[in-house]
């Protein structure tokens, strides 16, 4: 019989899953030893899993395999990656961490360029265009709504976009013997922006609440089914 005999393992897994669920739920009554135990196991498993996935998906096919059995060019590419990776690995040791700086600089440079390019072409331009095209009917709200509804909705979205953006403008004038303040018109528009931001965060909070409640319901359903199964046995 295999070590991983499905029936026995399934039962063991269900008991373990139920136990861990109860342990984590005990946190509602306050922090305790079992909760800390479960969290540390979880972090260990998650980190171990991430390490293996990285090995399987990147280090094995990109470094190990080409060095062992790749062509000349592949071997060169992989060896260079290995050398630079070794430098980066030195970041784990404080005394040698300076050696990893060039590779970190490389990562930061590439990362910064990637997010800039994405932000410009993926968000800034298209979203500004989307704001401009709000009044290009039939637009975002389909053909079913009357035109006046579409116009009002477009105005609300446009006002929301501009005012929320202005809310994040923190430029201020220096005033003698007083704290610096934003210009009056910016403050006024920013207050409107605050209304839209309050609504957006309200929707966000409700979304997080519904998502977490779904997890709560799923865990409770699982636990109830487990208890029913246990008593049937």
């Amino acid at each position: 019989m295999s070590v991983f005999d499905l029936n026995n393992l399934d039962l063991l897994g269900t008991v373990l899953s139920f136990g861990l669920t109860l342990i984590v739920f005990s946190f509602i009554f306050g922090d305790n030893l079992l909760f800390r135990f479960a969290i540390h196991v979880f972090v260990g498993v998650a980190a171990g899993y991430a390490a293996v996935m990285t090995w399987y998906n990147v280090l094995l096919p990109e470094i190990a395999v080409p060095i062992i059995g790749g062509s000349q060019a592949e071997r060169f590419f992989a060896l260079l990656a290995l050398v630079l990776s070794t430098l980066l690995f030195m970041k784990a040791f404080p005394r040698l961490s300076g050696w990893g700086s060039p590779v970190v600089a490389y990562l930061v440079g590439v990362g910064a360029a990637t997010v800039i390019g994405g932000a410009v072409l993926g968000t800034l331009f298209p979203q500004v265009l989307a704001s401009i095209n709000l009044f290009d009917f039939p637009g975002s709200f389909g053909n079913s709504s009357p035109v006046w509804v579409q116009i009002s909705n477009a105005v609300v979205i446009l006002v929301g976009t501009i005012s929320a953006l202005i809310f994040f403008h923190f430029g201020a004038r220096n005033r003698h013997d007083r704290h610096p303040e934003r210009a009056a018109w910016i403050s006024a528009v920013a207050r409107i922006g605050q209304i839209f931001i309050a609504i957006t965060f309200g929707v966000l909070f409700a979304g997080v609440y519904i998502a977490s409640m779904t997890a709560f319901v799923e865990r409770m359903t699982f636990s109830a089914n487990f208890i029913l199964l246990f008593f049937q046995l």
Binding site: Q127, T200, G207
Partner: protein, 453 residues
């Protein structure tokens, strides 16, 4: 040259040059000073220095000259230095001006008496009065413009409220808070278990939203046997909601016999995808098998960088599947050289940043290939601006349980949703009512306390 802060517009170019020169000299000397004093620094010293630096930026009326042992900026940079930099610094230090009288001579002088007679560079047995001198005076003021000072002040005001410690909750208050928390947990627990114990029929399916109808229609319009890129990008914590939403979409795709290419930007994504397909095989009666009906390419590390790389050269970035097979030469994938060759891209994520990365890095490379985002309710507000706008950056949006439309066509076997729907409804109603009651009580209290004022 005074050490006072001068706004940039008041400083002449000559002055400015001179200022910078003098600042450089001071900085070098300060580094040396730090080397001398670093061993004496107390752990708390760093924080005090930071405060002093902040004061120097923020307060115009700080004293002009401050006796400084270890300027913070330099000390922070130096702490990052590896040990091999020590020699470099010593070489540089030779060029620094010497402030201590007789320091150089004393280092090389011979001992005149005692057992160490004739030995050079011996530490003196007693303090030489010539060694005692005033600490070097340096300014730690920074050259900042009026505008920078103003902005620093504004930022200071903003964060002051955040970092001020909250008053500690007293014993009785803490106990009442705990009781309230436990009471809420019990209420929610009962509301979840009640429909389960009374066996309320799960016939009440999630509502049909316009978004899910569009997404369903999009899938319907794609011919059977199409090749689809499916990214399972959600963490295990929200798998209850995401599995429910994604299972309905994948169920539709399996019914149409789509060939699925699985990827993920989350380490646990590949196993999450396998688990989902296993569940759908069991619940929906499908026979989806690796290589035959789907291929799991695995994990793409690097967030936006990894996604951009994958979007530009998918064959080079993910040459093998998780079993080590060179999948791109298989009959299903041999005609796919870029992401625009896929018939559809489906991304399931609970994280708005991850969704944004797909839209920003991958969507521009898709050409005419539509993209559907299956997102958690918590990500929806920041994904929706990309949907239904002109230009439309995503063509389909399915959020949380808004998957009712998929039930119209499916076998209703993939019913993650229907399992929880009754309990979820009641629990959300109870949770919402609890919040409403709390809001009414505290709003009333707040209004009552305001009136006398």
């Amino acid at each position: 040259m005074s050490d006072d802060i001068k706004p940039n517009n008041e400083t002449s170019p000559e002055d400015s040059k001179e200022f910078h020169k003098s600042e450089e000299v001071k900085k070098s000397t300060a580094e040396q000073s730090f080397q001398d004093n670093s061993s004496d620094n107390e752990p708390g010293q760093e924080g005090k220095n930071t405060d002093r630096l902040a004061d120097a930026i923020l307060d115009d009326k700080t004293s002009d000259d401050v006796v400084e042992k270890s300027p913070v900026q330099d000390s922070q940079e130096d702490r990052e230095e590896p040990a091999d930099d020590q020699s470099d610094r010593e070489v540089e230090d030779k060029d620094q001006p010497k402030h201590v009288k007789g320091e150089q001579e004393d280092d090389t002088s011979e001992e005149q008496a005692g057992p160490l007679v004739g030995v050079e560079g011996v530490l003196p047995a007693e303090l030489d009065p010539f060694f005692i001198h005033e600490p070097v005076k340096r300014s730690i003021k920074l050259q900042v413009t009026e505008a920078q000072k103003t902005q620093a002040l504004l930022l200071d005001q903003m964060i002051k409220g955040e970092i001020e410690p909250q008053p500690e909750v007293t014993g009785s208050k803490s106990a009442s808070n705990n009781i309230l928390r436990i009471g809420i947990a019990i209420f929610l627990l009962v509301s979840i278990l009640l429909p389960l114990s009374t066996r309320v029929p799960a016939s009440i399916t999630p509502p049909i939203s316009r978004d899910s109808v569009s997404a369903n229609q999009l899938i319907e319009n794609i011919s059977d046997g199409a090749t689809v890129l499916l990214s399972v990008d959600y963490e295990p914590g929200l798998s209850a909601e995401m599995d429910a939403a994604l299972a309905s979409v994948v169920d539709r795709m399996m019914m149409k016999d789509f060939y699925l290419v699985l990827v993920s930007t989350v380490p646990t994504g590949p196993v999450q995808a396998e688990r989902l397909l296993m569940y759908l095989n069991q619940g929906g009666g499908y026979q989806y098998e690796s290589s035959e009906n789907y291929t799991n390419l695995g994990y793409i590390p690097g967030g936006p960088v990894g996604l951009l790389n994958f979007a530009e050269a998918p064959r080079q970035v993910m040459p093998y599947d998780l079993d080590g097979n060179a999948v791109w030469y298989s009959p299903h994938l041999q005609n796919i050289s870029s992401l625009s060759d896929f018939d559809l891209v489906v991304v399931a994520t609970e994280n708005p940043d991850r969704a944004r990365s797909w839209v920003e890095q991958v969507q521009p490379k898709l050409g005419n290939t539509p993209i559907i985002l299956v997102v958690s309710r918590q990500a929806e507000p920041f994904v929706r601006p990309y949907y239904g706008s002109e230009p439309s950056q995503i063509q389909g949006l399915v959020s949380g349980f808004g998957v009712g439309a998929f039930y119209l066509n499916s076998n209703a076997q993939a019913g993650f949703s229907s399992m929880y729907w009754s309990s979820l409804n009641l629990a959300l109603i109870v949770g919402g009512l609890l919040m409403l009651i709390g809001a009414v009580i505290y709003a009333g209290k707040s209004l009552n306390t305001r009136k006398p004022e």
